[in-house]
Symmetry: C2
Subunit: 447 residues, 2 copies
């Protein structure tokens, strides 16, 4: 049943329940919910924290933002801190130690046992965006020559300490990965079944140095909830679970969205002013350069504009529409690349479609703009110039929106990062050039 109780009620329970009720219930309250109470009721936080066991607090800290764990941890006595750190898994400790300054991280490590420090140091040696950097080090190894019943009896002794167990890994005595057994198969097989009979030897694994994006793609492709991480000798070092992958997928989407808008991948909505300026000023500066490039095209035609000042008003329409159409195309292409939906096979078809979109929208909007200019300024030639420039610029837009991201990808540059600069430069510079150039050619008819 859903125990739908308010935060207020939960807080009151945590503060006032007698010890028996408290112990009975605490294991069924999700650490995420506990943490929310600690954050919301700061005055009562200490009293609640003091009622929790070391293990409860370790789980709570696991849900806290890496940057805030140290502050929460150091609210306890040094002795208690040691006990809590003992309960935390080494990969969680490695994650938050990474966010600390040197003094703080030394302080944390000094409160840990020698073996734990070594484990944390090994984890810290992997770059944070690799499989080794995100893996958990708790997993359960079993042996294939045991029966299901023997294995269950073994698990009754050890599994309480493993963070998440959807799969068990079959290893040799030396720890080399041989295969995988799902808990589902374990619980549904007769007690006398040998583990070797339900072991899948075709186990997918990732290397400690594999990029986290590759790991995410693999779990997504095969619908796995967990994957083992091995070193170059196939020695199992840890596991990666789906909840970490979810975060990575969201992170990657945010990075792509940011890059397409000319922001640093990591800029945070609640970051500092300095961080935001560092993230945005470089892109704005690059845009300024391209804008000056476009403006110099306009300057080239200043005698034409002096003669027909209406061109100065129509000019931004042509360039702006090209920019919008180009952004549409490049967005579809960049996202198609990111999701793996744009492949060698359909590239030609997609190109022809983009060209078609440029042609069709160009003809439609070209006619609208042409007729509009004709009526507004009473000059059919001006209408013709504006309409043709619109058509040409929308074709330039969709073709460059298709071409630029693919070229960048070929040069191993993230298409999300730089496409929009090139595409809008193309639509601005060429848009101005086509429009004002045509106007110059037909100048006698426009005056």
């Amino acid at each position: 049943m859903n125990l739908e109780i308010s935060k207020q009620e939960l807080k009151d329970f945590l503060l006032n329940a007698n010890d028996h009720d408290f112990q009975e219930m605490i294991e069924f309250i999700h650490p995420v919910d506990l943490l929310a109470i600690i954050h919301e009721y700061e005055d009562e936080a200490v009293s609640i924290l003091n009622r929790l066991s070391d293990e409860d607090i370790a789980h709570l800290l696991d849900e806290e933002d890496d940057e805030d764990i140290y502050e929460l941890l150091t609210q306890f006595s040094t002795k208690r801190q040691k006990e809590i750190l003992e309960e935390m898994s080494s990969d969680e400790i490695a994650d938050f130690v990474q966010a600390l300054d040197e003094d703080e991280s030394k302080d944390v490590l000094s409160k840990m046992s020698k073996e734990d420090v070594e484990e944390v140091r090994e984890l810290l040696s992997y770059p944070p965006d690799t499989a080794g950097g995100i893996m958990a080090t708790e997993f359960i190894s079993i042996h294939e020559d045991k029966t299901v019943k023997k294995t269950l009896e073994y698990l009754q002794g050890v599994a309480q300490n493993a963070e998440m167990a959807y799969y068990l890994y079959v290893t040799t005595n030396e720890g080399y990965l041989r295969g995988v057994v799902s808990l589902r198969d374990l619980v549904s097989s007769p007690f006398n079944t040998l583990i070797s009979e339900i072991t899948n030897l075709n186990v997918h694994s990732v290397n400690v140095y594999d990029d986290q994006e590759e790991v995410a793609k693999m779990l997504d492709k095969y619908d796995y909830v967990m994957i083992p991480v091995v070193d170059e000798h196939n020695l199992i070092k840890g596991v990666i679970t789906i909840d970490d992958i979810l975060d990575i997928i969201k992170e990657e989407a945010t990075e792509d969205i940011h890059r397409m808008a000319g922001l640093d991948a990591e800029e945070k909505v609640d970051g500092t002013l300095i961080e935001s300026i560092r993230s945005r000023l470089p892109w704005l500066s690059i845009n300024l350069i391209t804008a000056i490039l476009a403006a110099s095209v306009v300057a080239m035609f200043s005698s034409t504009i002096e003669a027909v000042v209406a061109l100065a008003a129509i000019n931004p329409i042509i360039a702006g529409m090209g920019g919008n159409a180009g952004t549409q195309s490049l967005t579809i292409i960049v996202r198609g690349i990111a999701l793996g939906e744009l492949t060698g096979e359909n590239a030609r078809k997609v190109f022809l479609k983009e060209l078609g979109v440029g042609l069709c929208t160009g003809v439609t909007l070209g006619i609208v703009v042409g007729i509009g200019c004709y009526f507004f300024y009473g000059n059919p030639y001006l209408g013709f110039v504006a309409g043709s420039a619109m058509l040409l610029n929308l074709i330039i837009a969709t073709v460059s929106g298709y071409t630029v991201p693919l070229l960048l990808k070929k040069c191993n540059i993230d298409p999300a990062l730089a496409s929009s600069v090139f595409v809008t430069t193309a639509t601005d510079v060429l848009g101005f050039f086509v429009f004002l150039g045509l106007a110059t050619e037909l100048l006698p008819y426009l005056i």
Copy 2:
């Protein structure tokens, strides 16, 4: 171990292995990999498919795109089709039947047993983007008054048929949801433990009509891999697993990215020309209207431009930079809203930061542009006008980039959908107005 074999080798094995080897290995080949072979080697596909069991084919079809399942299915004899459909789960059938036209879906339903048809019809009654529309109907219910050993013996009989079992649901005899037991707790508890001792009564569930986005947020928040779906009476109807949620999170990110670029949420990179035009022309038309609005501001000042034609060249720089800065701000805000990182608490701080970004980048780039114009045109007043307009327009950009998405959200309009139209209209219209207005005021000094 990783059995790293090439597609070619896998195909040869599937075609030529003797029956014994084939049966031994086939359960360890992931359906995703099998399907890739079927797609890549079309000529040999039929021979391979004929070696597979009904169950293997059901798993294979589960990985196929919904639109292509019917075609693959109807390659088999009618008798075989019935057997395969019998092996498929009703939610998979419901998913692909939804994509069929009436004759085809009638054809599929006519090949199924009466009870299965009823189940599929019930699933089809839920809107596709609700919990009911994405749930799987296979899950395992157990009773709390049994021991772990009794439960394991029960599972040995039934679990083979349940698609994915990370959790077991404890229900009353009538099927009402009471609690949840993780397989991890089941395998790690002594045989004589009562299920009630390891049941978590604080089970989170979702309603069949809950939006899939809400479901995704809940699994993400609590790091669940599975969640039960109940009706209004708390009767358990199905389960949703994390692999479906992964797809939803990617879908939502794509929708946001598309909407921010003025594309339909559903436009596909490999869709048809007509679909693309339908997706893009409406947004281009709206942009045309706002561009005309901006152009009419320029037209208001045509006598000023006639007098100082340099303004026509500088104009797009001011407006374009405003557009870029506005896009940066609104992207940070829209993504912050989507990820739940922009809250009531930090809204004021974020606003002040955006204002600060506008001020600082505005002063920096205003000085650059001002000095640039002074040197290029030799007129300090022109430099002053351009620099001040740049500063003001960058402040307009960041302030509207902050304000517009939040206002749209208050009006229950998706901020990703419409923000950029409003923000770029603001930076274009106000940018032109500020720049050309200032120039008109100072006209005597510019000539």
